[in-house]
């Protein structure tokens, strides 16, 4: 029945709606350049959402864990085979996305007989020098964007923009790690709050209209939201640290480190 062009367009449209619905409850992912590299942060429950891909490449994802795992494996395979056959410096985020997973995600999205990938992906690439970092964001339909300084994935484009604007407003120069973690955490809180409000709005009719504008974005309010939203979940935080010895620059921050780096008023009981 999809052989008619109109039906196909309709089916793809339905797919968009279905996928948008899937991300509503998801936890956003934030990546931000700091003094010595890039910090990534998210809040997760159960399955991790931040991964090491290659020496200078980190992955953050939203969506279905099984789909994320599939794409993570193809990224890992591609990166390691390429890094072995050519050289580690030929393994760039941009190549992995453009010629690697973006076409695969797009194809799955448009083959309306098959299931699409329920994922949004963020790839952070540590550059050889500060200021040369790259951030790539791939949407569930295979479209991608490359940026610098910071990147986020969240339920909707609007929320993503709100979060990115917040991050850009923090500082024009890269922050030290503790302040970068603070900024990433507040951007996450901002995104999570906006997503919850959007969900309430569509669920609860029109009366909440007044509350939809993002509301206060001061540190204390966002920290309070974070405390509430991240309770009983775990804060995941990883860095690509330019100063780390050896070729692998990725490192997951330990619970103790996070305890020191998180803003004091967040004071989560980290397990």
């Amino acid at each position: 029945m999809y052989e008619e062009p109109y039906r196909w367009v309709e089916a793809v449209g339905n797919r968009r709606q279905y996928l948008d619905e899937q991300f509503k409850q998801g936890s956003p992912v934030v990546a931000l350049a700091y003094e010595q590299g890039i910090v990534l942060l998210t809040v997760s429950k159960g399955t991790p959402k931040l991964y090491e891909i290659y020496d200078r490449l980190a992955l953050g994802g939203m969506g279905h864990p099984a789909d994320l795992e599939k794409l993570r494996f193809s990224l890992l395979e591609m990166a390691h085979v390429e890094g072995f056959n050519r050289s580690p410096s030929d393994v760039t985020g941009s190549r992995m996305v453009k010629y690697g997973i973006a076409p695969v995600i797009k194809q799955a999205f448009e083959e309306v007989f098959k299931a699409p990938f329920i994922v949004k992906i963020l790839l952070a690439e540590l550059g050889p020098k500060a200021g040369r970092d790259a951030f790539l964001v791939i949407n569930y339909d295979g479209t991608f964007e490359e940026g610098s300084g910071c990147a986020v994935v969240a339920a909707t484009r609007q929320v993503e923009q709100e979060m990115a604007t917040y991050l850009r407003g923090q500082s024009s120069i890269p922050l030290p790690l503790d302040r970068a973690v603070g900024a990433a955490l507040r951007a996450w809180a901002l995104g999570d709050r906006a997503q919850r409000r959007a969900a309430e709005e569509t669920g609860g009719g029109e009366e909440t209209k007044a509350g939809t504008q993002s509301g206060a974005a001061d540190a204390a309010t966002l920290d309070a939201h974070f405390r509430h939203a991240a309770a009983e979940k775990s804060v995941e935080c990883a860095v690509l640290d330019r100063t780390q010895p050896g070729s692998s620059k990725y490192r997951t921050l330990t619970v103790e480190e996070l305890g020191r780096l998180l803003p004091p008023d967040v004071n989560l009981s980290l397990e």
Partner: protein, 257 residues
């Protein structure tokens, strides 16, 4: 079967072949002579190697690095045909990283040892034909046993644990005896030496090897060329900088008679 996290398997699936099929005759002069050594000292394991690469009686290169870091906690010192040895190191390096990144945990120390054996076995034909023989020393920190360990291999892939020390390469017969003597009747066993004392011993051993083996480079002070010396402890692998080797060599190794 990417789910197993086996990088070597993945390479083979992509058409990669390790080591050339053996066809060459045995009268080719392959660059393969060297001296590498490893022994346990107070804080972990010291691994050292000279820097000369030779082909027959010709010196090919005097700045070879034969003590190679595979990851933050393991080192392979190579003796044998460099082309094969470097390729092995590259495969191992990517295999350990690939395993860690796919399986989200470090490959165990035993797993790492097996990986070295497997590559050597894959290489048997070339080793026997004389075009690809490698006899490495593999040393690393074993977190399960909480100690640094030394293993050495023959060219066919058999694995032996060097409980106190291990040597390989053309200069090794000379220093094997010295190591035995030092460890048995020295003022203190090798395992009691401090980092500085063990460095002095390593420099003396390589200098002795160079004295009797033309294929071992030793120390060349005029060219500021010192052996490569690395330490493996729970904290990872560390290289002794030349700036520290130089004064030690001058004070403790050069003969002052």
């Amino acid at each position: 079967m990417g789910m197993q996290g086996d990088f070597f398997q993945l390479l083979k699936e992509q058409g990669y072949q390790f080591g050339a099929p053996a066809t060459a005759g045995s009268d080719l002069e392959m660059p393969n002579a060297t001296t590498i050594l490893a022994f346990k000292y107070r804080d972990g394991v010291l691994v050292a190697g000279d820097r000369r690469a030779t082909a027959g009686n010709m010196v090919m290169y005097d700045r070879t690095d034969k003590v190679l870091e595979i990851d933050r906690h393991s080192v392979m010192a190579i003796a044998g045909v460099p082309a094969t040895a470097y390729e092995m190191v590259r495969v191992l390096e990517h295999s350990f990283k690939y395993y860690r990144r796919t399986q989200l945990q470090e490959l165990s120390f035993e797993g790492k040892l097996r990986a070295v054996s497997k590559l050597l076995k894959e290489n048997v034909a070339a080793a026997l034909a004389g075009t690809g023989a490698v006899a490495p020393i593999f040393a690393g920190y074993d977190f399960e046993q909480e100690s640094a360990k030394i293993y050495f291999y023959d060219i066919l892939g058999a694995e032996f644990e060097g409980v106190e020390y291990a040597v390989s390469g053309s200069g090794s017969p000379t220093i094997r005896g010295i190591l035995h003597y030092l460890n048995t009747w020295g003022e203190q066993p090798l395992s009691a030496l401090s980092e500085e004392q063990s460095t002095v011993q390593a420099l003396r051993l390589l200098t002795s090897a160079a004295e009797f083996d033309s294929a071992t480079g030793g120390v060349n002070r005029e060219a500021n060329l010192y052996p490569v010396i690395k330490f493996i402890t729970a904290g990872g692998v560390r290289t002794m900088p030349d700036a520290q080797l130089k004064p030690l060599f001058e004070a403790k190794v050069v003969r002052h008679v």
